[in-house]
Amino acid sequence: MLRFIILVAMAMVVFAGAGYIIYPFLFPLPAKQVAVEPKPEPVVSDQKPEVVEPVKPDKPKPVVKDDTPVDDVDEGVDDGKEDTVSNIESTDFMPAESGLTEQFFQEDDVPVDPAQASLPPVYSNPQVQDARRMGDQLARALEQEEKNSRRKGYFKSTDLTAAQWADAITLRQALIDKILSKLGQFDQQSMMAFLQDPANRLDLARLTLINKAGTAKVSEIAKSSLGGRLLETMGGDLGWMYGLLYSGPAVNMDKTLDYMNAIFMRNSEELNNPLARRVATTTALEFAREGWNESDMLERFSYYFNSARSGQLNAIFDTLHYWDTRLVTGCMPNGGWGGVKSLQWQRDNVRLPVQGYLDACNQIQYRLRNAAGDTVFSTSDYIGPYLRKNGGILALAYREIGGVCGACSHYGAYGALAAGIPAMTMGEPGHCAYTVRVGDKWEKSYTIYWQRGMHKTFWKEHEWDFLELMQALYTDEFKTLASDQVLALGDVLSTQRKVKAAATCYENSVIIQPLNWMCWLRYAGYLGKYGKENKAKWKEIHDLSVDTLARKYHAAAATLLRKYIYPTLLPLVTNAKERNKMYASFFSVCDTHGTNRWDIANLLNAQIRSLKDDKEKLDFMKTTLRTLMSKPDYAPGALSWGMDFLSANSSSSSSEEMSEDFYKLVIGALSRARVTSKEADETWRTLGEAISTASDNSDRRAFQAIGKLAQRKFRKKFPRTKFAVRSTGGRLISETGLIQTAVTLSESERYDACLHWGVLQKTGGVIPGKFEGKAGLKVELERTSEITGAVCVLGEKARTDRPFVLEVSEDGQNWNVVCPSAQVQGSTITFTWDSKKAAVGRFVRMTREGDKYEVKKILGFFVYGKQLRNRDKDK
């Protein structure tokens, strides 16, 4: 036996040496420690849920009717725990467009230097080039400085003590005097030479900090127990000051200082730790900017700092700069998703490489109702009971119970954010999607539509283009920093009422870095203050933005023009020809949509609003359409805009005439368009977009015109064989109607929207359907008719568990049920009723009782009867 054991042991040693371990049943198994939870996949939170002792099953007796309402027991039970649950599953994810960001220019009570009293004249081309060259020089110096900082750190100075910071009024004046004395004649050369010296840049940053936070706040902080040390250290370190002042909007700086002070009071030993500085500064900046409270800010700081320090975040977090760290540490709370509990759970339970977060949304089962039948929109019923038991971890609750687009997208985005990776959710019409930054590129996920609004933004502009603009801006790190320096100098000079020099700085800042949105706003704001009537300077900023920003960031440039330049410039341009030329110049640099499709309607509306009469408007429309219809990306949007414009102005006296001209123009242009294989796709898309807009506007005539045109030009896309559908009596009266679905059409569905028109034709087409409550399929007939019945053909076998209902209306508002239950045979749904009961109406609606029923394809919808020819005329 002994020999046997020795032999076995020897064999084990041999196998172990060869890279194998024999699993011996001689070894005891480790004791079972964590029970794996039953399906779905096990998830264990950081905070262990209470262990519930199993209770002996207690099967209730068969039900006996009892009328006591359940609600009675609810009374007094609410302990407020549902507060952690937000109404995140609202359908309203699309952020509204924000108004103007007003610019304020602080000015000291100093006399105006006559030589500096007015704006500089319009730059000549060489002057622009000079400004650009000097900016490039500064950018190169900053790049070199950054390289050097890797070895010996950024420029530091210990010339200011806490006591000096505590007397901020005196310090401010000393800094102003010092800076002004070094600026010489306030010409471009001396100003740019001033910025070449890091010591000057540090003084400029110090002064900027005092100006932004206010002398009172700076003094108060400097006098607090740690604040003096904080200001001494931070205010003496150029690298840290860059992070504080030039990593995005530096607003509410007084609050930012309070928050940083609060952080370092609790973590004073970390004052020299670069990680702590970055996390503290960015968290404080974002919480102050957003107006969020201090306790949440401290929690958020601790979460990211401790997670990063203990190596629990994705390696990407270590590579972030201040600006993109702000996107992470300043992530939106979004009803609990940004809460530390949920972040912590996602950090530990959704650990993925960055690309993996684009699919993480799929970890949430898509469902509108939980197994109890409660809808996701009634958040507390839907998820409340589960949240009570899991410690309020939203991400875990949704992973267990499931959710719809809001939960899926938040889960994906906040999974990445929890790991320290920049990401954000975004609204699309009726939908929530998200984006994660993979490398330097923002990748979209869970998206269904081109229109989207970001939920996190630096400049209160939500369009996708601004996200791309922000990325490009900070990727071009040193030019951006150079323009920020020039901008900061401009702000200092404006406080001293050096109008010419300040305006020069503002203008140079946009020349140096045209992607710097804040520079544009400051420059336009300053022009508004000192040159409201200066047409030449306004024309100059217009042309400069078109020539630079608009070349790639079309939507951002359009926003700049529409919100900040046109309102002052357009009243100064009285000549229609000059104005049209100006308008055309913008689209001449936009061949494609740029970074993302954008809504050109806002810009075109701003342009057309400046025109006086219908003739000017029609001329503008013709010119614009001629330009835009030749650009495949813009043609659908232009067409939709025109239709929307006419629809909104249908009450004007000449609307009928304008409308006629418009349709002639459009149909003519589209009919003439050659449909080569290359152009076919774009033309089909243009028509699809146009017909969708016609449907959205309930414009039956346009719907029919475009449908017919599409069929003429794209016969092969439409079915050719007629459906074998038997009439319910009378003629087919829906062929000339307008069909509308309750589905929010995705981009690809809008692309094929001409097939919606086909659904009303004998040969059929395709339209997606959704039946939920009173939402279903609606048809507007050409005329009021006597309706005998209707037939709907689905692309799938129709569900029979609930009845389909047909309603008729004369006005599209008040509906009468004419057939409460259709006959369903396979995919065909037939509505008939007693022929003696005449159903008269112009609108027909098909609905279905019960829960949402989505039908991918409805192939045909046919309404039968007789048109009442004189009825509409009589009205």
């Binding site: 890279g19 480790p30 794996v36 209770v55 650990r351 009971p385």
Partner: protein, 299 residues
């Protein structure tokens, strides 16, 4: 002496050893031979310090050996922005196969059957926090795997109510029951295996269909309907909880008896207090039935 050598040889054959590192996914599946599972240790290889620590502890130092019990472990490095060398490394391990769906976090220990179906994963933070927890969870999954396989084998051979009961029993393990797990290699049994798969499909009912089904019923009708479904048998614990969730939702929204609602939530919770709908029932007792902790625990 001959006898001893023979016994030692047999023992070595039985304990065929557990491979670490070099083995590819396909080779491990082949080696598993339809009987044993394979464990995939998937870890973030170039972006995650937690993964690196687990790799060191679990694989490099062979910490998982005891838990594996002769099951091969395949190291699957997951790279962030992989370069060419890293892509090749991944391809070498996976040999054209992709990772099974259902893995939600790295590092993790995925237990797959010989057909590559994911049967269970040790992936939560609590399970993966250290070697002891991961070993215990993995060992438990492997034990359950063998037990569930036996039940599934019986299910393939059984028919009617017996099969339904066996399938429900199989579903009660903390492991997925993939349809392909019911495939029989014996061609004569193919018909039966298909029947078993059909049974399994029936088992995977959609609770929302049930919600809609009972929506128009009175509370009494709905109650009796659910009880009939239960009595027909062949339901896993989780499904029974879902069925009761549908019923309780119906009772609550229609202002049914509070006593009934409470009793149903207690029953729902007690089927399996650790499942998500067990936790849901527990929370519902607090939210809608005003039950405090003492009352809930029966004190």
């Amino acid at each position: 002496m001959k006898k001893i050598i023979y016994q030692a040889f047999l023992l070595l054959l039985l304990c065929s050893g557990v491979s670490y590192g070099a083995i590819s996914y396909a080779a491990a599946l082949k080696k598993a031979g339809g009987k044993k599972p394979v464990v995939l240790f998937c870890y973030g290889a170039n972006y995650d310090k937690v993964s690196e620590a687990r790799y060191d502890e679990f694989i490099k130092k062979r910490g998982l050996s005891r838990a594996l019990r002769g099951v091969d472990v395949v190291e699957v490095p997951i790279y962030q922005f992989p370069d060419d060398r890293q892509k090749k490394e991944f391809e070498r391990v996976m040999e054209g196969r992709s990772l099974p769906g259902g893995i939600w976090s790295y590092p993790c220990l995925a237990v797959v059957d010989s057909q590559g179906n994911l049967r269970g994963v040790v992936q939560s933070a609590d399970e993966m926090k250290d070697l002891a927890s991961a070993s215990a969870a993995l060992s438990d999954l492997i034990t359950q795997f063998y037990e569930q396989e036996k039940v599934l084998e019986k299910a393939v051979r059984a028919s009617g109510a017996a099969r339904r009961a066996l399938l429900a029993e199989a579903a009660n393990y903390d492991l997925a029951v993939p349809l392909s797990a019911l495939k029989s290699e014996d061609s004569d049994k193919k018909g039966e295996a298909k029947d078993a798969q059909d049974e399994l499909k029936k088992l995977k009912f959609d609770p929302l269909v049930l919600v809609e089904k009972i929506q128009t019923m009175s509370i009494e009708q709905a109650y009796n309907y659910i009880r009939e479904m239960e009595d027909a048998g062949g339901r896993s614990k989780y499904q029974r909880q879902e069925m009761l969730a549908a019923l309780t939702g119906h009772v609550r929204r229609n202002h049914g008896s509070p006593q009934l609602l409470k009793a149903l939530y207690i029953e729902m919770r007690n089927i399996d207090p650790t499942s998500s709908y067990g936790a849901y029932a527990e929370g519902a007792l607090e939210m809608w039935c005003g039950m405090g902790d003492e009352e809930k625990s029966g004190k």
